[in-house]
C-alpha cells in the first residue's frame, strides 16, 4: 500500500532582500492513513515551512524543488479548482494562535458554517445544526449558545476546540497541526490532545504534528522527525527517541530541558543559538554547537542515512556515537582536552 502523503527531497528557497535563500533542504518522509508523525525543532528549523509547503501556503516568490504526493497526485502541480479542493476537503490546518485565525467581528456560527454554506451549498439551518454537532464532538455541549458568541468571548482553549471543530467539518484525510497546543495551559493541552487523538482514531485521519516539545511529540506521535536549520537530522519511532537518540542535536535538546523530577546544579545548555538554513556554514549545520564535532563534520553536509530499521540520522558519527549521546557532557570535554 502506498502512503497517503509522500514528501521526497523537498527544498524551498525564499526571496529575502532580493536574494534567494534556502530555508528547507532535502526533506523526505511519508505518512500513512491514521498515522501521526511529529516534526520537532526550534526557531528556523523549517518545521512550519514544511507544513506550509504541503498546504501550498508558501509566501509569493518561493521556489520549491522535490515532490509532494498526496494520494498519488502531485501537490506541487495542483492549480485552481484542484488546489482549492485539496485545501478545503483533503487537508485541514490547525494553527498555534486561534485568535489570529478567526475574524474578531464575525460570530463563531458564521465561522463554522461558512465553508459548508459556500462550498457545500448547505442551507443555513442545516449548517448550524451540523455545527452544533461538531462542537459536541470536541466537547462543547452548549453549542447553540456558542454559535452566537464572538471569538473574544471564548477562552483560548475553547477557541482552539472551535478551530478543531472547523477543521473537522470536512472530514479531512490529513491534519496539519502547527503547534496547536503551545498557547494553551497544560491541563487544556491535555484535553485538546485527547480530543485530537480520539477524532483521529474515529475518522482514521493522518496527522502531521508540529511542536517544539520533544516530550509532547514522544507522547502523541508514532514517529518523530527532528529538524535543525531547515533539514531533517533524525527520524525514528517516538518511543525510542528519549532513550536512544540518533543525532547529537536531539540528545542535546533533551538534556537542555529542565526536568520536573529533579534539579541539576547546571543545565547542559547548548552553546550559541539556533540558526536558519541560509546562515549555516558548509558541513553539518549543527557542528558549531556540537560537542561531538570533528574537523570532517565541518567539511561537507552529511547525508541523511539509514542507521537501522526505520532509523535515520544526518550525523556522520551516528553509528559510532550510538548509546553515548546522552552521557553527560563532562566526559567529552575531557576527551577534547586530551
Amino acid at each position: 500500500m502506498s502512503a497517503l502523503l509522500e514528501v521526497d527531497g523537498l527544498s524551498v528557497e525564499l526571496p529575502v532582500a532580493g536574494e534567494y535563500r534556502t530555508v528547507l533542504q532535502d526533506v523526505s518522509f511519508s505518512l500513512d492513513a491514521g498515522q501521526t508523525l511529529g516534526l520537532v525543532g526550534e526557531s528556523g528549523s523549517g518545521k512550519s515551512m514544511t507544513v506550509r509547503s504541503i498546504a501550498q501556503l508558501l509566501p509569493p516568490g518561493a521556489r520549491t524543488s522535490g515532490s509532494i504526493t498526496f494520494d498519488g497526485a502531485s501537490v506541487l502541480d495542483l492549480r485552481g479548482d484542484a488546489l482549492r479542493k485539496f485545501r478545503s476537503r483533503d487537508v485541514s490546518m490547525i494553527f498555534q494562535d486561534p485568535r489570529a485565525h478567526t475574524n474578531p467581528v464575525r460570530r463563531i456560527g458564521d465561522f463554522l458554517t461558512e465553508a459548508m454554506r459556500v462550498n457545500g451549498r448547505v442551507p443555513r439551518r442545516e449548517a448550524e445544526r451540523r455545527a452544533v454537532e461538531l462542537l459536541a464532538e470536541v466537547g462543547i455541549h452548549d453549542g447553540e449558545r456558542r454559535l452566537r458568541q464572538y471569538p473574544h468571548e471564548l477562552s483560548g482553549g475553547l477557541l482552539q476546540r472551535v478551530m478543531i471543530a472547523a477543521s473537522l467539518a470536512v472530514k479531512p484525510r490529513l491534519i496539519l497541526a502547527d503547534e496547536p497546543t503551545t498557547a494553551l495551559d497544560v491541563t487544556t493541552q491535555s484535553e485538546v490532545m485527547a480530543i485530537l487523538a480520539r477524532l483521529q482514531r474515529e475518522y482514521g485521519m493522518a496527522m502531521l504534528f508540529i511542536t517544539h516539545d520533544l516530550e509532547l511529540a514522544a507522547a502523541v506521535c508514532d514517529e518523530t522527525v527532528v529538524m535543525y536549520a531547515g533539514a531533517m537530522v533524525e527520524h525514528q519511532a517516538s518511543s525510542r527517541l528519549h532513550t536512544d537518540p540518533l543525532h547529537p542535536y536531539s540528545a542535546a535538546l533533551m538534556q537542555a530541558r529542565p526536568e520536573i523530577e529533579r534539579r541539576v546544579p547546571r543545565l547542559p545548555a547548548i552553546p550559541g543559538h539556533p540558526t536558519s538554513a541560509f546562515e549555516t556554514p558548509d558541513g553539518c549545520a549543527f557542528a558549531p554547537r556540537c560537542r561531538f564535532a570533528e574537523d570532517a563534520c565541518r567539511a561537507a553536509l552529511p547525508a541523511f542515512e539509514r542507521v537501522g530499521d526505520g532509523e535515520y540520522s544526518r550525523c556522520r558519527r551516528a553509528e559510532e556515537l550510538r548509546g553515548q549521546l546522552l552521557v553527560p557532557a563532562v566526559v567529552s570535554h575531557e576527551e577534547v582536552v586530551r
Binding site: 485527547a194 514522544a218 530541558r257 545548555a269
Partner: protein
C-alpha cells in the same frame, strides 16, 4: 475540607507556612493580598487572600494557569496595581500603596524590578542596547561619562552581551539576546528583588537553558531574590527553592518546591503535575474537575 496536610493553604497557620523565610526578616512579605476589578454584580476577584514570604537571596515560584492571578499578583508587587486589601512589605517597609512621587517611584525601582515574557515588545526598537541600559543607570545613580560607560559594559558582561551587541538595535538581536538585555536592564537599578514573569517561556529550549543558568549565576553572585512566575513546572523545579500554586486567585498549595512537585497534596497541583507530557502519558486521562 478536613485535610490535615500542613502544606495545604486552607490548613495554613503562621507556624506551618513553609514558604516563610527561615530566620531573619524576609525581603518580601505578602499578607492577605486581594484584588478585585469592577464593582457590584460585575465584580471579578483576580487575587483572593494570597499570603507568602520570600527569604533574602531566595527564589519563590508562582505556578498557575491563565486566570490564576499570578500576573496580577506580580503587578501589585511592582506597584502597577493597587491591592484592594492586604499588605505588601518590601525589605521591612510597607509598600502596599503604589508610589506616587517620583522620588518614591525611583526608590521602589531600586528595590524591585520585573522582566516580562516577550523580549520582542518590551524593548524600545529605536534605542540602542547600551543607551537603554545607560538610561537606567543614569536615572538611578547619576553616573555619566566614562563611569557610565564602564557600568554599562559591566552590566553587559554580567548577562553575556558584548560591545558589538551593546551598540546594536533590538531588531539586530535574537530572542535570547533580547531577554538578556531585559534582565540587564532590570539589574541596572540594582534591585533586591527581581520578578521574572514567564521570562523564559517564549525562548527556544536550548536558549532557555542558557538563561536559566545565567539567572542562577546572578542570584549566587549578587544575592538578588527572585519571584519566578511560570506555568512550566520543570522550569520552576530548576530555578526556585519554594513555590506557591495558584488557582482562581487563591493559593491552593505552598511549600518547598521539591515537596510540592514530588508529593502534591492538593488535587489541582496533582492535575497540573499529571498534565505534563511524560513517558506513557495518555492525554486527557486526568479528567478536569472544574469547580
Amino acid at each position: 475540607m478536613s485535610s490535615t496536610a500542613g502544606r495545604r493553604a486552607d490548613a495554613r497557620t503562621d507556624s506551618e507556612r513553609t514558604t516563610a523565610a527561615p530566620g531573619g526578616v524576609p525581603i518580601l512579605a505578602v499578607d492577605g493580598l486581594r484584588k478585585t476589578f469592577g464593582r457590584g454584580r460585575k465584580e471579578a476577584v483576580a487575587v483572593d487572600g494570597v499570603s507568602f514570604e520570600l527569604a533574602a537571596g531566595g527564589s519563590l515560584g508562582i505556578v498557575g494557569e491563565s486566570g490564576s492571578g499570578k500576573t496580577t499578583t506580580a503587578r501589585m508587587l511592582i506597584g502597577l496595581e493597587q491591592p484592594t486589601a492586604g499588605r505588601i512589605v518590601l525589605d521591612g517597609a510597607d509598600h502596599t500603596r503604589p508610589a506616587r512621587r517620583i522620588r518614591d517611584l525611583r526608590a521602589r525601582g531600586r528595590l524591585i524590578q520585573i522582566v516580562f515574557q516577550d523580549p520582542y515588545t518590551s524593548l524600545d526598537r529605536r534605542q540602542k542596547i547600551g543607551d537603554c541600559l545607560g538610561e537606567v543607570v543614569r536615572l538611578h545613580f547619576g553616573l555619566s561619562g566614562s563611569a557610565l560607560d564602564a557600568r554599562v559594559r559591566e552590566l553587559g558582561e554580567l548577562v553575556g552581551l558584548h560591545d558589538r551587541q551593546l551598540r546594536a538595535l533590538p531588531r539586530e538581536l535574537s530572542g535570547g539576546q533580547r531577554q538578556r538585555v531585559a534582565i540587564a536592564r532590570a539589574l541596572a537599578a540594582e534591585p533586591k528583588i527581581l520578578i521574572l514573569d514567564e521570562a523564559v517561556s517564549a525562548l527556544d529550549v536550548s536558549i532557555q537553558a542558557q538563561i536559566l543558568n545565567l539567572l542562577a549565576d546572578i542570584r549566587e553572585q549578587r544575592g538578588v531574590s527572585y519571584v519566578f512566575i511560570s506555568h512550566d513546572l520543570a522550569v520552576i523545579r530548576q530555578i526556585t527553592d519554594t513555590a506557591i500554586v495558584m488557582r482562581h486567585g487563591r493559593v491552593v498549595e505552598q511549600g518547598q518546591t521539591a515537596d510540592v512537585l514530588d508529593s502534591p497534596q492538593d488535587p489541582y497541583t496533582r492535575l497540573l503535575r499529571d498534565s505534563v507530557p511524560h513517558a506513557g502519558w495518555r492525554p486527557g486521562a486526568d479528567a478536569l474537575v472544574t469547580s
